[in-house]
């Protein structure tokens, strides 16, 4: 996995996708990323979306919840490890308590009883751990099949993949069955969101990239990221006040409408 990333980075350098003028500083490899994005998009359109749509039609929501819980439980093991690595011991203990309860009373994880017991699920991975340790994200990077990432998160994904308990599953057929099922479940859960993205974005690539970068930043700081010092933000902030004053007239009428 990591090797794949290195190869990609080299291929990128060779293809000359170094930064040029007018490009987003966070995304110096945009032409390369866009071509991978287009490939992924086609793959999604012709394979993943039809499969996930079919899965959602055929499999009742109740069962899909069980499938999500099952994989979520497996994921909790390393979510705990990552919390420990980030020094969040309380969260880590909570994650492992989840695994203990859900694997036993929750019947191999198909029931998420730990949530009802007050052990909330967390969202951690090695990319976030590296970020927490102070590693910058590096340029934005779209990975084949896996999608939005950055250099740091790509390396993190490599470690996630390497430590994924599913990879230890034997025999081989069972492992791939699980991998495909997990992918299908994940894609099915995303069907509504991807349709909304389709509707909301003027340029899907840019919209998705910016959302990914914002989202990762928020996750690294567990939802409390420090304010960014972006000159654009300051400008926009100043803009807000006059705008707020300006609209008063128009909005007032609406407020008088009876409920």
């Amino acid at each position: 996995m990591t090797r794949l990333l290195l190869t990609l980075a080299l291929a990128c350098a060779a293809a000359g996708c170094a930064s040029t003028a007018e490009r987003d500083p966070r995304d110096p490899w945009e032409p390369f990323n866009r071509s991978v994005y287009n490939f992924n998009d086609k793959l999604d359109q012709y394979v993943a979306t039809p499969v996930a749509t079919g899965y959602r039609k055929v499999i009742p929501g109740e069962i899909r919840d069980r499938v999500r819980n099952f994989f979520g439980n497996i994921g909790d093991v390393f979510i705990g490890v990552n919390n420990f690595l980030q020094g969040k011991f309380e969260d880590g203990v909570s994650d492992w308590a989840r695994v203990a309860f859900n694997t036993t009373i929750g019947l191999f994880g198909i029931h998420d009883i730990a949530t009802d017991m007050g052990y909330e699920k967390h969202d951690e991975d090695f990319g976030q751990t590296f970020g927490r340790w102070g590693m910058g994200s590096g340029p934005y990077l779209v990975l084949p099949v896996l999608g939005s990432s950055t250099v740091r998160d790509g390396i993190g994904k490599g470690v996630d993949f390497y430590t994924d308990p599913i990879n230890e599953t034997k025999p081989f057929e069972a492992r791939w069955g699980l991998v495909v099922l997990r992918l299908t479940q994940t894609r099915a859960d995303l069907l509504d969101a991807s349709r909304i993205l389709e509707e909301a974005a003027l340029d899907k690539y840019v919209f998705q990239r910016d959302a990914y970068l914002q989202r990762r930043r928020s996750l690294i700081y567990d939802g409390q990221p420090p304010r960014e010092k972006d000159p654009e933000d300051e400008g926009a902030d100043k803009d807000r006040k006059p705008a707020a004053a300006e609209k008063e007239g128009a909005e007032d009428d609406k407020d008088k409408k009876p409920r």
């Binding site: 909304i196 340029d203 919209f207 910016d210 959302a211 939802g223 654009e232 803009d239």
Partner: protein
């Protein structure tokens, strides 16, 4: 992948807050406003058979009546445009705000249509009574997944508390449009952006009619 999923479900639910002046509540409590409106809208959509059957026009009507009065669209549009907003004429500002509002309402309708009775956790407001700019937090609980936080940035105006940004899973809607908008403005100016938004809205409208 899991992150994207929670983000997704969040997007789906970002919608669920905001509407109807909360007359019975303390007007200085924006969190009460969010709660009242969210619960009201959720109840209306889950009870309405036509909306459940996919009547998009009716859903948009509901959003117009209940949710929109609590959004400050000129402020949202200004924030999304950043510095380009200052270069726009009053007429351009008006058109931009209208088109952006149409786009957001349509997106909201899609998100609301995907709501399937997830539990909502309304967080207590952490703000001083004198604050005029607060963040109201709601969390969408889902089995087997991390709760998705929805943060409403709200500002106190003469017309009551108004939302000027929504953050879903840490992603600010307004900030997310900024790069897109500025790319278009750089290439084809503010009028280009207005045209771009208008044609996007028209395309969505016609595709929506075909489906429903």
């Amino acid at each position: 992948m899991t992150k994207t999923r929670s983000l997704a479900s969040a997007l789906v639910l970002s919608v669920l807050a905001l509407a109807a002046p909360a007359r019975a509540q303390d007007p200085s409590a924006p969190d009460q406003l969010v709660k009242t409106v969210t619960l009201e809208v959720v109840e209306l959509i889950t009870k309405d058979k036509e909306i459940q059957a996919g009547n998009r026009a009716k859903l948009i009507q509901l959003i117009d009546a209940k949710v929109l009065p609590h959004f400050n669209f000129p402020a949202m549009t200004a924030l999304a445009l950043g510095q380009s907003w200052n270069k726009a004429t009053p007429e351009q500002k008006k058109r931009l705000t209208e088109e952006f509002r149409t786009l957001l309402v349509r997106t909201y309708a899609s998100a609301l249509a995907a709501y399937s009775e997830q539990k909502l956790d309304f967080r207590p407001l952490r703000a001083k009574p004198t604050d005029t700019d607060v963040t109201v937090q709601v969390r969408v609980m889902q089995p087997g997944a991390q709760p998705v936080p929805i943060d409403y940035s709200m500002e106190k105006t003469a017309g009551g508390w108004k939302v000027y940004d929504v953050m879903v899973g840490g992603v600010s809607l307004v900030a997310n449009y900024r790069t897109e908008f500025n790319n278009v403005v750089r290439e084809s100016g503010i009028d280009g952006l207005i045209k771009n938004l208008a044609s996007k809205n028209r395309a969505l409208q016609s595709s929506g009619l075909e489906k429903k």
